[in-house]
């Protein structure tokens, strides 16, 4: 009998198991656990206060960099391997070209301020280096790397001409303030691209410093920093823009954190093969600050009433828009790029950047773009776009003499100037991917489909509204 004294414990356990197992197996406690996007967000590293480590004093930025490299030995060489430093891509094949080419701010042009060649001191203010004032800049010198622009407190550090520290910066204080890049570090260049707040991108501007959730759900509602998404190892920052990296497949995607079929609605999920997340979740661009949509260089140099948003003598006429409706185009992540020296048809719009992909490209999706149009100078004899020297003593902005501005740059660009110039229409596509709206503000069916829809189905290659004509898998395309 003794040996059975504890048999009731075994009995109790068996009884409980017999009840608990079926309950656990067969009773569902409701909604299946959805994949949590937070699982994919890297934890914020803890901050190390550098104020004691970086006591200074430092006479130059290079000295600060040297001090950084004492501990972060490979940091400079890592940065030097990124386009933040090179401003030029690896050689890549672009459609219709025989040779690999490199593309970047360093050697190519846009239709805003056109090109950095001959204009280095002004443009390289946003370079992660010190002292890029002409073509002879030493890209191999580690101490030329500017650590502070990305890591220092922006209230203690700023850059001046040629990317050197601005006058009056207390380098020791700045060096002591370093940490994980903040929105302000990134924004100081990326929000002000094109020469001022909100000018260039249409989805990046200073409203993202302290956005509410109606500006951007990630930064406003969830408190994201830029680098929470634009993360990377060894200073390789994820993300790219087709104007400077036309053939770089983007490793950054909404689906890195969100399941593509995240929508509760099967009808919406049926869209994700053909429609980028951004298309519905970024219904409009430039939500807070107007962005530049058109720039007419041909009127520059006149003595007209000036207004930074409509006309400046040094730049010409502008059109700014806010809450603009994006242009939509198929895009497979690659782009074609106008290269300096390419022959243009001055009567047609030259696309400096052109997203690749069409309705027959299964990897392409419909994306929202800001399209920036311009009339910019070209060589009327040689029929290629020209890069003027704008800043500086002899630049256009000083003398308002186009001939001089073009001629001065012949040596820098290697392109001969015939002596005759004109203004040709160009356009650039800027993919929209920030200022993301939550589902409550995303596009709805009728925004694109039906009589009042915003899509130009014919332009996208559809025969008609796919709501009634069926999707591209049917092949009823234009």
């Amino acid at each position: 009998m003794k040996e059975f004294r504890f048999i009731w414990i075994a009995g109790l356990l068996v009884t409980l198991a017999v009840i608990a197992i079926p309950v656990i197996l067969f009773a569902s406690s409701g909604g299946e656990a959805s994949a949590d996007p937070w699982d994919y967000v890297k934890p914020t590293p803890s901050h190390v206060d550098h104020s004691a480590l970086m006591a200074g004093p430092y006479a130059t930025g290079a000295e600060v960099t040297a001090a950084c490299l004492e501990c972060h030995e490979s940091a400079a060489s890592e940065v030097m391997g990124t386009t933040h430093w090179t401003w030029e891509s690896e050689p890549m094949m672009l459609p219709g070209r025989d040779e690999p080419v490199t593309v970047g701010k360093k050697n190519q042009i846009n239709n805003f301020c056109i090109g950095i060649q001959g204009n280095w001191t002004g443009c390289t203010k946003c370079h992660t280096g010190y002292g890029w004032e002409d073509a002879s800049f030493d890209f191999a010198e580690e101490t030329n790397v500017d650590c502070l622009v990305c890591h220092a407190d922006t209230s203690l550090y700023g850059k001046g001409t040629a990317g050197n520290p601005a006058d009056g910066v207390d380098l020791a204080a700045a060096a002591g303030s370093v940490g994980r890049p903040t929105r302000r570090n990134c924004g100081s260049c990326h929000f002000d691209g094109g020469g001022g707040n909100a000018v260039k991108h249409g989805d990046l501007d200073e409203s993202l410093y302290y956005p509410d959730e109606t500006v951007d759900v990630h930064m406003g509602r969830l408190g994201f920093e830029c680098v929470d998404c634009h993360a990377g190892e060894d200073h390789q920052i994820a993300g790219h823009m087709i104007s400077v990296s036309p053939q770089v497949k983007d490793e950054l995607a909404c689906t890195n954190c969100h399941a593509p079929d995240v929508h509760a609605d099967a009808r919406i999920n049926a869209h994700v093969d053909s429609v980028a997340c951004q298309t519905c979740h970024i219904p409009e661009g430039a939500l807070r600050h107007a962005t530049k949509m058109d720039w007419d260089w041909s009127t520059a140099g006149q003595d007209l009433p000036e207004d930074p948003h409509t006309y400046l003598k040094i730049k010409g006429n502008f059109v700014y828009e806010h809450d603009f409706r994006p242009a939509y185009a198929w895009w497979n992540g690659d782009a074609d790029r106008y290269l300096l020296g390419d022959i243009i048809d001055p009567t047609a719009v030259t696309q400096l950047t052109r997203p690749l992909g069409d309705i027959d490209d299964a990897t392409a999706k419909i994306w929202p773009f800001k399209v920036h149009t311009a009339r910019q100078p070209f060589d009327a004899v040689n029929n290629y776009l020209l890069v003027p020297v704008t800043a500086g003593e002899d630049g256009f902005w000083t003398n308002f003499d186009w001939d001089q501005a073009f001629r001065l740059n012949e040596a820098n660009t290697g392109l001969a100037y015939s002596g005759e110039y004109g203004f040709a229409p160009t356009s650039m596509y800027w993919s929209l991917t920030h200022m993301v709206q939550p589902k409550e503000q995303a596009l709805q069916c009728y925004d694109c489909h039906g009589e009042n829809g915003r899509m130009d189905w014919a332009a996208l290659g559809y025969f008609g509204d796919p709501m009634t004509w069926g999707g591209r898998e049917l092949g009823i395309n234009n």
Partner: protein, 938 residues
Amino acid sequence: MARFTTNGRAGLAGAGRIIKPVVVIGLLVAVVFFLFGRTIAQEGEPAATPAPSPIHPVFPLLDADGANVLASGVAVSTMTTCGGCHDTAFIAANNFHADVGLETYGQPGSLSGGRPWDTGAGLFGKWNPILYRYLSPEADATVDLTTPEWVQLFGERHAGGGPAVTSRGGGPLVDSGLAVDTTIVDPATGEARPWDWAASGTADLNCFVCHLPGADNEARVAALAAGRFADATTATLAGTGIVEQAGGNAGAWVYNPAAFDEAGNLLPEYITVGDPTSANCGNCHGVVHNEETPLTLDELTVADWNTLTTGQIMSPQRLNASGLNLQDKSALGRSWDIHMERVLECTSCHYSLNNPVYYRETSGKQPEHLTFDPRRMDLGEYIYRPLHQFAKGQSAQGTLAPGFDETIRRCESCHSIDNSHNWLPYKDRHTAAMACETCHTPRLYAPALESIDWTVLTAAGEPVRAYRGMEGDTLGAATLITGYEPVLLPRTNGDGTTTLAPFNLISSWYWIYGEEERPVPLRDLQAAFFAGDGYAPEIVAAFDADGDGELAAAELLITTETQRDAVSGRLSAAGLDSPRIRAEVQPWGINHNTARGEWATRECRDCHGGESRLAQSITLSDRTPGGELPALYEGGPVSWPGGIEATEGGGLAFVPSTAEAGLYVLGHNAARIVDILGALMVVGVSLGVLIHGGLRVLAARKRAKTAGEESGDPAATQQVYMYDVYERFWHWLQTAAILLLLFTGLIIHKPDLFGIFSFSYVVQVHNILALLLVLNAGLSLFYHLASGEIRQFIPRPRGFFDEAFSQALYYLRGIFRDEPHPVEKSRDRKLNPLQQMTYVMVLNVLLPAQIITGALMWGAQRWPEAAAALGGLPWLGPLHALVAWTFAAFIILHVYLTTTGPTPTAGIKAMMLGWEEMEITNDELRMTNEEAPAMDSA
């Protein structure tokens, strides 16, 4: 397929498949070209993408005589203009939008389910308290509305044709000999004066008001109101550039020659006709907003009919993107109507019944082996004679065209419930009890009429109206719109099922008079209230409570006999016989403004709880004029479980009852008597046990005292192997299952008391436990049968009553005296006769009853007929609860009785360990521990 008569209703209703409308439109165009040989200048290949140009061929505008209006200069008639290609006579004849009740026009009281004075089934003849004006029959001495005035006033919501063309006696209105067709009452004098139909013309069926995008309804209504009926169609073209009004707003319409080509056809850029857009329907049916601009609302009028009566607004826009001052607006990310959001138009569901794209046979007519019948009407035939009887549901108030009731596709015609709602337990049970709208239109976000009191008139000559869903009683840009939750009432559907569905209720109070009841004409009511520029002195005297000589809004309410008499006296004086107050509550069905699942009512507790959404009351009014309780409208498919209750402040509310609706909503409904009985039983048994146990303790103490140290030796005991392992296992498994079933059952029964538990999870756990219990009982039964142990439960006839009596006596007396148990417990005879009786009851009555009622409640999902055969959930639920209470009482008693062995814990220990401590009273039963295992094999 279907046959049509040119003057009767078509005998068809449809089944079919949706084909992409654009394809169809394209085909239709082709057919039109083909049939009528019309050509549009076509150069080269047609464009790859259909250009936004009209798909409809160009056409001339013709007058009623068929002459081009450019030549004749008179009003357009769409009967001739559109009749060039389409059979407009057929269209006008088979058209409930034109007929609006003319066909069923009859004697007052002839409308089934209608009021005693109703003469028709639709706008023409069916009175309602919102519009108030009454279309008088020919025989009436006091005339309210005649046909011409009806067209002037109600033409606002009438597409023309029907009674605006044809006399209620038959034949054209121009030739009518009826006084009510050919006169109009002068509002100033109350005298009839002749109406000159030749001058006014008739309001022919107006194709443009529905088929012309941007049709100018305001201009049309103005022409009708002005009595220029023939101009109504022409006026609808205002704003197209085809016509303009000479001499400002009142002048005749003149044609713009620039809008026509040399052949006299309209230039395509001036006119586009096509399928009615939702905005076209919205001209008469309610607020439709299909634009990007934020939706705004000004005053709701009868032209906003469905919005006024229910608060429904048809728009794809998100609520928080609208321009309305909505409560908690920022959180309202849903659209006004999911179907509009998904780019459906009104015509997507309310299609022409012979449209070959949508056509389907009446449900029940189509052979079961066919899900689609490809034999369709030829598109050309359809274009020629498109049936203008549209698929419709069955509305609570609609009595027009009952032959077409429920021809519309229902939610489940397009939506699969099988492939959705997987989160919802008891899916079929829920959908059998509730219409889709019940959950998917949980709330309306626009104001709706709540009550209308015609027993008094405001200084503006208006009734006192109250709205629900907004603050205050005037709608303006700053009005806070709160929205409202509709009341849920049982609706009998076309297929005979009854489901709970959402409704707005509009209560009305109004004066009627006469032996043959008639509503008091507005002009008589106004004459009763007003004299000169203000209220009549008698009225002021009766209503002016504060004596300031003015009638404030709050004073305009009949609460006393004096007030009632003051009004009725003045009405009588005007020649109206015995004026009295009539009151009614009308239900207005809500089938639109559907929301996606995430916005639907989906929390179990919303309905399964004390405060169930299904039984949520709705305010009828904040007043009860004359103390008259309104009658609940019985003429429709709606029934009224529950009743009207007075609210604080003199108002009324309707309080629905799910029990009266024949529903037993778990967690909400409970048979009170069962719970009282059950609780009494449990409390009674507990008290009995406490008293009995207390007495035993007292008796034991007393014995101990008297016995003293006299005998330190308690009765000799020995250990007996009483319960083998399996017996103990099934017992304890059953114990746990029953206790947990009682607990989970209690949560399901009274979820409000156990807020932390998920209702649906507990229901699942309850079901799983029940299955375990049944399996355990079954295995145990098999064990007892196979081992023969079942005999232990079967009372033996011999000496049964003697033993039972002595056992009872023992519990009553012997137990207190420490007498030996009269029936010795042994390995072979564990149960005494009382136990045997109890277990016969528990195992043969209670347990099966609980299993059967429980299984049927669970099976209400799978085998609803089986549950219904036993009275359905309203019987099963209370029975299941009653048995559960009994089980609870049994368990208390059972546990207590285990303490009546040699020692209080002997019984429980035996059930845990198998060995029971037994008093040694019988030599035969003496056993040693070593002998015990031998018993197992015995």
